[in-house]
Amino acid sequence: MNALGRRGPDIAVWLLLLFLPYWLNWVGGYTSLGSRVLVLGLAAMSLNFLLGFTGVLSFGHAAYFGLGVYGVGLTIKYLVPSTLLGMAVGVIAGAIAAALIGLLIVRLRGIYFAMVTIAFGQVFYFIAYRWNSVTGGDDGLSGWHRMPIDLGLTSIDILGNDKAFYYLVLVCFTVAVAIMAALLRSPFGRTLLAIRENERRARFLGIPVDRHIWLSWVISCLFVSLAGTLYALLNNFADPHDLRWDQSGDFVIMAVLGGMRAFWGPLIGAAIFVVLQDYVSSETANWMSFIGLFFVLVVLFFPRGVLGVIQRRTAA
């Protein structure tokens, strides 16, 4: 396959994303739907760094997503009304928490690892829920919104302008995805794949497996926190539900739907998940049956996800 053929899908994706606010409205969507797909797609891709490429399942990523959400909300509301500072706080909070918790849990595997991530996730959820005075509890953290970004010469209004916010999200998405792609192409990334394929063999080769899993975990959670900050900015709202285990479950579903083994898989999965739910729930109050049926069919007949089907076609 020549260079264009290999890069083709990547170029196609970037073009679609670059011009999204224009073609999405034309097909009956709306710009903030596109932003939502991109933000959740980033979260799913971050999760997939750990799941699809390192082979480790986490069901508690919503905790770090939520740290991003509350980090940016609390900063803007109580500290400094600055979007960029808020995002920085959210990401740092998520990364530090992930680093510390990762040290504790990295020895576990399989369902045990998944359940312990749920345990931590639920504890964070209950803290957000009960610490009413700070987080607003079940009512959520409101009364703040995304602040215009002051670049010295000009100020970008991302509050009133949906398109401007979308491009901010796209910039963050691009940076995150570029870093993840570079990491996966590097020797570090190859090692992760080796660990995914056969952990025992990797250990025999002298690879410090636990340290690699810890690093993969921290990177994954860091980018999911970034996604969290963008999610809060999208909604102008921080909600404890963003920390619940079913939010984590949504990320896993998106990754599997789109294809865990493909780099763009989770983004496709997020697009399908968000758009399908958005569309079906507008048509019928029984959308849960349709979405549930869709999951069932995908698992039964398309376990490698949408991109898995396409990959197999092109390989054959």
Binding site: L33, D139, H145, A285
Partner: protein
């Protein structure tokens, strides 16, 4: 094809064909909500249709739909027909609620936004409607801040604040049932503000709070909290829960025989909860925000009959009334002012009095100027196992004017800032 499934030989191609066929059939079936047309006045209802608040959202929707029907029968709004677009906000995912609100306003270009049952969503939606400058009537989210610290010039609310509910019933509780109170409080803003309201009343009357239990939202078992309540030896146990929590707590309280030793009471109660309880658990002193049995109030019987026709024969609850009033409010003020401009409509809604055939209440019902809170009548009474009619589960003892029970505007924390 069934044979294929059973023998596991179903392949992807035939599956896709079958799915396409099934999909088309389903969407043509009675599952579908509404079609969309242009050049109509659009109402956007953003309410939970799935999850734990599904029943409440559904009832508000039915009330809205009846209102829209009546509005159109009477000539529509400014000569144009009205149309209701409904979006499921889900019961717990505020992100989806916000997304749907943006969809309704940005893509579907609704003129009026209605909703939400969930307090957190009501607040979040208020921010969206304020940002995008649409008139927004909150139907059933009770947290005080919607017409308090989180108030906006374009947001109005139909259902009561928690302070209105507690103030309407506290005197009765104190005089008739006891001066020592124990609170079972759900641990979120709604519960906290209800408790604060009652505590203020206790202070005013000189009663005692013997204790309180904070219960997690969605708790299934209340026995440990009821054990604590019993140990504190109150005269009245006050249940500040809502929805499923209230059903579970009352069911268990009656199973424990607590209703025979203490008086059970609370502030907000809903017909949906009483209907979900076994008859022996329909007890206690409560406040209803609207009730279907009002023999002395004109037009109520007609409303009840109209709702029965579209509600499977069941009587309307306060939720139906919330949706009905919210939709009609928009139509009335728009026709009155002959404009759809949100700022003009919002200004006109201040001190706007609802006509009796919409208000369906004995006293004047109007939107207060300073905080945009509707001032309705509150119905204080007792739950009964069965009344005169089969669905009559509440006996109204006292009517309280909302405006008497509410906090003065200055104390609500609401500061409205109007666009230039």
């Amino acid at each position: 094809m069934t044979n294929d499934i059973l023998s596991g030989r179903l392949d992807r191609r035939s599956l896709i064909k079958a799915a396409a066929a099934a999909g088309v059939a389903q969407f043509a079936a009675p599952f579908v909500i509404t079609a969309r047309a242009a050049d109509e006045i659009k109402f956007g209802l953003n309410d939970p249709l799935t999850g734990t608040y599904a029943e409440l959202g559904k009832n508000e929707q039915i009330g809205c739909q009846l209102a829209i029907e009546q509005i159109n029968a009477q000539g529509g709004i400014l000569g144009r027909q009205a149309q209701l677009l409904v979006e499921d906000s889900t019961s717990a995912d505020t992100g989806i609620a916000v997304q749907k609100a943006r969809k309704l306003i940005e893509r579907d270009k609704v003129d009026f936004l209605l909703g939400n049952v969930n307090s957190a969503m009501a607040i979040a939606l208020g921010q969206v409607s304020n940002e995008l400058k649409r008139l927004h009537i909150v139907t059933g989210g009770h947290t005080d801040s919607v017409t308090g610290t989180d108030c906006h010039w374009n947001v109005f609310r139909v259902c009561n604040t928690t302070r209105m509910e507690t103030n309407s019933v506290s005197k009765t509780l104190f005089n008739k049932y006891g001066k020592k109170w124990y609170f079972i409080t759900p641990d979120y803003a709604f519960g906290h503000t209800l408790q604060q309201g009652f505590e203020a009343s206790l202070k005013q009357f000189g009663g005692t709070e013997v204790g309180a239990s904070l219960t997690p939202l969605g708790a299934t078992d209340f026995s440990s909290y009821l054990i604590q309540a019993q140990a504190a030896n109150p005269e009245v146990i006050i249940f500040l829960l809502a929805g499923q929590d209230m059903v579970n707590a009352l069911k268990q309280a009656v199973q424990f025989g607590l209703d025979k030793r203490f008086h059970i009471a609370g502030a907000q109660q809903e017909l949906e909860v009483l209907e979900g309880l076994p008859p022996d658990a329909r007890i206690g002193t409560w406040v209803f925000e609207w009730y279907w049995v009002q023999p002395d109030v004109p037009h109520v019987k007609g409303f009840v009959a109209d709702i029965r026709k579209v509600n499977g024969g069941k009587v309307p609850s306060a939720r139906h009334w919330f949706g009905y009033v919210a939709a009609w409010t928009c139509a009335l003020v728009a026709n009155d002012q002959k404009t759809l401009d949100p700022v003009k409509l919002a200004k006109a809604l201040e001190n706007f009095k609802l006509p009796p055939e919409i208000a369906l209440m004995p006293y004047d019902t109007f939107y207060r100027a300073g905080d945009h809170q509707l001032m309705p009548t509150l119905y204080v009474g007792n739950a009964v196992e069965k009344g005169a009619a089969e669905e009559d589960l509440f006996k109204v003892d006292e009517l309280v004017k909302g405006v008497d029970a509410a906090l003065p505007v200055a104390e609500t924390g609401c500061h409205l800032s109007w666009p230039a």
